[in-house]
Symmetry: D2
Subunit: 308 residues, 4 copies
């Protein structure tokens, strides 16, 4: 595993036939859904992922999808989240990442369209009140800007608010550039240390927080060094080079690339600012459906975008 | 007290001669410094302010001040904060208000230029390390956007981080429009419930949090109903009307104004967006000086604006 | 006429019975539509407005309207614009004002959701091509930021692009605060010098540009001095003061208010940032319908928000 | 020339020994200045650049430079611009690119800190007036957002304003990722069609506009396909592959890479949002010095950041 990827579905591609990993795929038109369950500690170690369930939704043209396709994606996301989320109790949605850095701003962008209800339970009319699930939200910021570990901040807030579950939204790194802004990963394993565009130092998961953590992530970047590696693999395969020589050539190159500072560079679409906004909206719509199953689509619209 | 003002200095103007209130003024050129100490519970009730010290810095042309004048204001702010702040221990700076609403965005704007150091204590070179005071920062957002009381969020974070003190930055309402963006109030009484442009529901102070809270605020708005009242007062005085008739005319008017919905409207300079940025920078500079007395101005500059 | 208002409908209120002014009102539920036609030069002088047609759409709860009501407003706007716009030829939409000042940012915000098509006529598929009206857009900025008169910039662009008409979007000043973000004025008289939140120095109209100019404006502020005056009027009427004494008291007050700098202050809702976004979206939707009558609502959606 | 680069200095590296190209280098500490003059039409064709002068300023740690180093960079930029700019007459500064796309927003960011004076010549006090050079500014936007070619808009504005010269600011693509945000190119050849992050379709130069155009550009991205190529070159050289075989392997790979859509992806630092702001400030400072040689640094500061 030399490739940095936060997607279980990409780790799986590298480890076909590994025991302790069960996966299945479903296709609805262009929308592909893959469930990967890492069942054993051995498989988890081999894939450098935590044990648990990973659901990956992929639509190759998500950023150019029409309203109907975006709704389908939001509905698929809603189903996946509901599969992993406890059915009752308040939910704290956490938008991770740095809102001042476009490729890392997904988390805080999702919160902008999320329906926040925890404070409404005593305020709104009776007809609505009984049907609202309590949702609150926080964008804890990143260590360099707050001086506090994200996990510290979330833990502090969770101790006051006592939610039944946490949903954490994050921007991810992928291995394959075609996954940028086209794939959404939902997992009950929470956030792993060292993952995300912003490289979280501490994990956010049930072990650390004592509360179930559902992570929702979208790849926003590929590290430039990965692009270089992939180009090489293509070439070496093309030249019919043997696998051993292949590995040596790679190692030699990686050293050179690191010296050039490519490791710090990311590959991202030119229009990433616009794409983040579109994907954030789809995620917010999906979460609103998952979290408020007793509200109609119209009620959600009215409450989330029009104020109360 | 019918006028809504968050400034102790304006309450004082209305209550000249009240016992239990001590005040003194100092002038340095255009910069005026007023210390008001509310010493008794009776005086506190009469002024609708909490017992404690209020320092007000006013520069009538602050928004058009040159670099030298802005530096003087930052230095005066630094002195005032140091007077009220415990000398040792980590400090949590809290930017209150709603960053999506210009007149309420002061708090989160100040954080953008604040020197954050709590996470640097183990990282930076030895020469620097011993001289850094640990500072961390959070922008907790507002109830309507997070679903959580500001006080709840701050309490949760403070319990994890255990700071020696909290500094809370907030946008205020004044009575006199000439105070908008020209006055900074520093107080050791924290944030009072019902104050601020965003109307905090719960207070942030030593009683609530168990930690000293220094509040730094700048008036950003005057409520439109106050402008109407002031216009009237001018007129009635001008007409030589007797005080009793005066009061009746006022009461009659207030009812009418409320019906017109003026109560919800605020008076603010057209260029408030630009002014918030300028004042936020002065406050950040002043806080950086107050919090890092063992760093030179150059070191602060380098660390806060140039990254590490 | 001492009150600054950019709304013909408010001038009319002050000048009931003036000859040369024809007006009619239509009500559809909460949505009120008023047509004012200033037919003579004398009436124009008396009202300090240009000769021409002014259509005012008002919905008292526009900022809290549901999706259906917003659609009705957009449709009413579309009808009004189509009534005044030449039926064929490219249209240049100009977003006036200063995008860095919230209350003056309406123009540039509308452009963000406008369907821009002039450059698509040679690109898109045949099915679409023949049905597109060419629309281009510019946000010329304000004198203090560009160093150029808005009218100069628009004239230069119009001479290259040769549109059949110009639509100019602007933030207005009203006299009555209840009109803020609830009223849209559409007029074929263009933009008058001295009008708008940003106070345009030169006019934008057919005389100046040689091309018909349809202006679409929404009140965003009331000058604070107007609020003070209105409070006074209420009071004086209440006190039964005679009209002559009334006028004198007013004049005396105006002097005092000006000295206090109220003239520069504006009254605006606290949440103006959010309201601008909502109203801008309604205007963009209405203009898209008016400008692209041969596209379905779905096609407009797809083209304007999803790129091509 | 298969590598896309907008930097003459990188083209030169590939074409060592080409006749018709004169270059010289100067080093001041970490700041390197390279002048490349393309003297003949043949050399221009070979390098795919226009005939003229290209000055490249490079500071390898520009984004982490201290205040003193940034000032030196601004001064070097000022000298370079003055070398190419006509000494008298108004100047129109054009911020190219798309302000909604971070990597392409350099142009509009520079305008935010530029001293705009054309409209002040009749307003300000006499002491200042005679010493101001008239500067105006426009951000024409991009074709997809305005429906108009950038060159069309600039031409229209220039015909009204009649400046003595145009300065055009743009974000560039480089071949070497270490140039991102560390290099500034100044040239009297204007903007070439097909160049820039946003790929200008038409050129902006003296031929097209009838006015000298000085272009100031900074690399913000490297195309991902270039990174892949560079990784390959390193590897093939390492393997001792002969040059001919080398070229074949490359061609085979390029086909594959294009199919994967890498061509549309860009490589950029994760923190590009922050870097754009820093570089924009240096450019604005340098231009202010170049354009206002009769103002002191203090006067420039006061006028550009504090309003008038």
């Amino acid at each position: 595993m030399q490739y940095r990827t936060d997607l279980a579905v990409e780790s799986r591609e590298q480890s076909a036939g590994l025991s302790g990993v069960v996966s299945r795929e479903i296709k609805h038109g262009d929308l592909e859904e893959v469930h990967v369950v890492i069942e054993t500690a051995e498989a988890a170690r081999a894939l450098e992922k935590d044990q648990g369930t990973y659901i990956t939704l992929t639509h190759p043209f998500l950023s150019h999808a029409c309203a109907k396709e975006r709704l389908e994606m939001a509905q698929a996301l809603s189903s996946a989240v509901r599969e992993l989320l406890p059915p009752f109790g308040d939910v704290l949605v956490v938008g991770l990442g740095n809102r001042h850095m476009t490729a890392d701003a997904l988390g805080s962008r999702v919160l902008e369209d999320l329906l926040i209800t925890r404070h409404l339970k005593d305020m709104t009319d009776e007809a609505l009140r009984g049907r609202l699930r309590g949702v609150c939200a926080a964008a804890p910021g990143v260590l360099g800007i707050t001086g506090m570990e994200t996990a510290e901040v979330v833990k502090g807030i969770a101790q006051r608010v006592q939610p039944a579950a946490i949903i954490a939204i994050d921007a991810l790194a992928a291995r394959d550039s075609s996954r940028i802004c086209t794939t959404i990963q939902i997992t009950d394993t929470g956030i792993r240390p060292g993952s995300g565009v912003g490289n979280h130092r501490a994990g956010l998961n049930k072990d650390a927080l004592g509360i179930p953590v559902i992570a929702v992530g979208v790849p926003m970047v590929v590290y430039a060094s990965v692009i270089a590696r992939d180009a090489l693999s293509l070439l070496l395969a093309d030249m019919g080079m043997e696998e051993e020589a292949h590995a040596q050539a790679m190692d030699s190159l990686i050293g050179k690339i690191s010296c050039q500072g490519l490791g710090e560079l990311v590959v991202t679409p030119r229009e990433v600012d616009e794409l983040v906004g579109k994907v954030a909206r789809i995620i917010a719509d999906g979460l609103n459906m998952a979290l408020q199953p007793r509200l109609s689509e119209e009620e959600i619209q009215y409450l989330s975008h029009d104020g109360v």
